[in-house]
Amino acid sequence: MKRKLPLIITFCVGIIIIISEFIPHKPFGQISGELEIWFLIISGFAILLGQLSLLKVNFLKIKFKQKNWPFFVVTLVSFAIMVTVGIFWGTESNHGILGNGEGVASLIGSKPFDYLFNNVYQHLSATMFSLLAFFIASAAYRAFIARTVESNLLLIAAVLVMLGNTSLGSFLTGWLPQSLSFLHLPNIAEFIMKYPNTAGQRAIMIGAGLGLIGSSLRIILGIERSYLGGE
């Protein structure tokens, strides 16, 4: 029964969701939205599980003085500070248990939670994101090394697209007459992005869509059960 009940629920909910896609009449039309609300409610409770896991894992690493344990102290301290200031003085749109934090806000310009969010978190997040620029450069360098026919094609396409998107591209081919405008680098870059690139992406999306349908059917019909933690 421990196995069968989840399978029965999965089957019933899956079938109802498929049917509701085609029937706008009540109650089918509302089912999908209602289930999304249920999901959000369950997620809300599950957040507590996540926080407990975070605290437990980091606390144990500190307790047993595992390798690099000071990093985990930083995590726990940061967590504690954000939770504390959030509970005491609230956030931008919410009151805390000590009120709206006007006194603290007059000192630092905003509520402590928002101050830390805007001045620490946002910058750290932007730093991580900006690393992407360097990683793109290193990955592109490896990807564009001309070794095989395919990598040569990739290299040529990449150079054309990159040049076509810069003013240098326009400068290099700007002298060509209007009758040869299809050879202008910006036009070539646009062509590559618009046709071969879009076609490739759509092929992947169609394949992924079919895969999604196949996976969904396997789960709804109870053939695929590993998400339940076993066969």
């Binding site: 992947i204 992924a208 895969g211 053939i223 590993s226």
Partner: protein, 371 residues
Amino acid sequence: MKKSIFLFFLFSCFFLYSQVGQYIDLDVVDTPNDDGSSLQINWQVSDCDSGNVVLARLADNGEKHVLVKTNNLKRRYEDGTDVQPGVDYTYILSLYGANGEMIEEAAFTATSKAQWFNTNKIALLIWVIILTVGIVYFIFSAKSGKELYIRKISGLESMDESVGRATEMGRPILFVPGILDLDDMQTIAGLTILGQLALKAAEYDAELIVPVCRSMVLSTAKEIVKEAFLKAGRPDAYKPDSVFYLTDDQFGFVAGVDGIIVRDKPAANFFLGAFYAESLILAETGFASGAIQTAGTAMPSQLPFFVAACDYTLIGEELYAASAYLSKEPHQLGSLKGQDLGKAIFVIVLTIGIILEISGISFLKNFLTLH
């Protein structure tokens, strides 16, 4: 006598027509293919170059609730505020001149109705039926013992190699099931692969690290890994803290996983699920650490990054097929064959569609377009 009665009737009709709707042509219809929660009001003002129209809905107490004021003399407005199916609603359209004087007023009463079938989705229904029948047919065909050829997916074949390498090197295996929640199919596909990977890790006695980005994924991943260790007959080797939550934040999660890669130096990294901008940051950090990397996602914009930085990449459908492929169970493999049939049908329909479009026939395109 009869002639004079007929002329009088004709004149009366003309007189009435000229009083009601001389300028305004008002029509209210039920919005098709909806749950009866809206009505469509169409109006057209003729023989009038300029002016303003005010559309109002008559409430039960006789008050007018203004819905829209505009100088657009031909327009469609959809009223979806508090409209219940089966209830009569009266709409009044007032036409005002340039100086604000009322020229004409017209009223129309209509009822909305909830539909039992969305006719805009007939094409979708046909596709669903064809694909479902195809997949179910091949599942039963495989169950009956028919041999099915499934092409080799090198990214999945390499799983043994990755786990073996990690065991030999005495380093952990890192598995990241994407950054989206359980409501995304890619996350579920990633988690089904985690089950197979955890089984192999338990058999090889390799350490498995699973940082997750969502609390719901945490509890599911924990159960999956625990069951895999039980199935392998090594429940003692299961570490509950091997699956842990980092943060819901995208770049906070990346920072955490990158820290694990740099500090613990896993021998094998698996990035299987839904990824966004963090894909390349994770994959490049893993590449720099020298790990053997397998990635898979159905996000077309992230696939090039994984292809450039990882040893093996599961492209789109391969991610969804992974669980069935690894299980080697005939009925699961049968569903993959069904997907291939769907692809073949897609190619045929696309080819026919291209030919028809070139020929100037748009029937197929219009039929397949979801409105």
